[in-house]
């Protein structure tokens, strides 16, 4: 049963949304790898937290770096959740979500924008990403940029591998990277 407090909270959040006060709306979403945290600013999806990342820490970071007006508002994330569900079912090969890049800048941002253009089911090397971002020799920095990707899955850093095909690293852990590449048919299950 809903308590009076919960009802009051729901009404407050509806009004906050109407008045444009939801600077950061967040929700959790299920995935085959565990729960994801999805956070959206007015501009678009700003953060995806992977199952092995601490949601409280991520929300604290959003409060500091985007806006402290951070509220749990699942309805705001319906579209992102829907597309991710389809993706995990293998029924969606391109996300169509507005993105907010404001957590990244400089070389890292250029690397992440290049990663966002890697098509479904294909992979690139860290070296190629460094070149696309304008500095072929900054391979290690390109790897760091992948590791710092605030919007994994939607910005598919799991599609970046070492030259020669070794998996490299992944913020969500290597089993997840392998699982995503299997889902996309790059690796055999």
């Amino acid at each position: 049963m809903k308590t009076a407090t919960n009802t009051a909270i729901d009404r407050f959040k509806a009004r906050a949304a109407e008045e444009g006060l939801l600077d950061v709306a967040y929700a959790t979403a299920d995935s085959p790898f565990g729960p994801l945290l999805l956070a959206q600013s007015r501009r678009g999806l700003v953060r995806v937290g992977l199952p092995n990342q601490d949601p409280d820490e991520l929300l604290g970071e959003l409060a500091e770096r985007v806006s402290p007006r951070v509220l749990e508002a699942p309805a705001e994330l319906d579209e992102a959740r829907r597309e991710l569900d389809l993706y995990f079912e293998g029924k969606l090969d391109r996300f169509d979500l507005p993105l907010d890049w404001s957590l990244s800048n400089g070389f890292r941002l250029r690397v992440l924008r290049a990663i966002a253009r890697i098509p479904y089911g294909q992979t690139r090397s860290y070296t190629e990403m460094a070149r696309k971002a304008g500095n072929e020799r900054a391979v290690r920095a390109a790897g760091t940029a992948c590791g710092s990707n605030p919007i994994p899955l939607v910005v598919p850093c799991h599609r970046v591998l070492r030259t020669g095909g070794a998996l490299g690293g992944y913020g969500g852990g290597l089993p997840m990277k392998r699982g995503l590449l299997e889902l996309e048919g790059v690796l055999d299950e």
């Binding site: 009051a8 009404r11 407050f12 009004r15 906050a16 409060a63 402290p68 007006r69 509220l71 749990e72």
Partner: protein, 157 residues
Amino acid sequence: MLATPLPPFQLLIDEYAGDVLAVLRGAVGREGAEDCFQETFLAALRAYPRLEDARNLRGWLLTIAHRKAIDHHRARGRAPVPVAEPPEAAVEDGLPERDERLWAAVGSLPPKQRAAVALRYGSDLPHGEIAAALGCSPEAARRSLHEGLKRLRKELG
């Protein structure tokens, strides 16, 4: 740089929404409490990014709640507060049933006394914070609380 970074606003809701609603019920009665709750949290959310001191968020919220309760009474021309409905079977928010009668009596106290009692017992605020919330001296807060309690004892026997 802030000494203490502001936590996500959701944390204030998770931690203090129940307190705020309980205090408002004491201050304006069950009927008006929901509206005051909306006004309190909307005002807080609007002002939140500019808040400079994150150390006493609960006191800050209760101060806003108190102002909204005063606004509520002003808007009603200080009309007597409708007291709470007779207790229902359900117990809401873990408040024991017998408290209904008590809160109804609190609801009929004069505004200052009502606020002092609600802040002290509905929300467990220390005297210093009650004074801050009411915008008066600790001595005056203590007096309002004392007068309020005296009346309650008389009324509830």
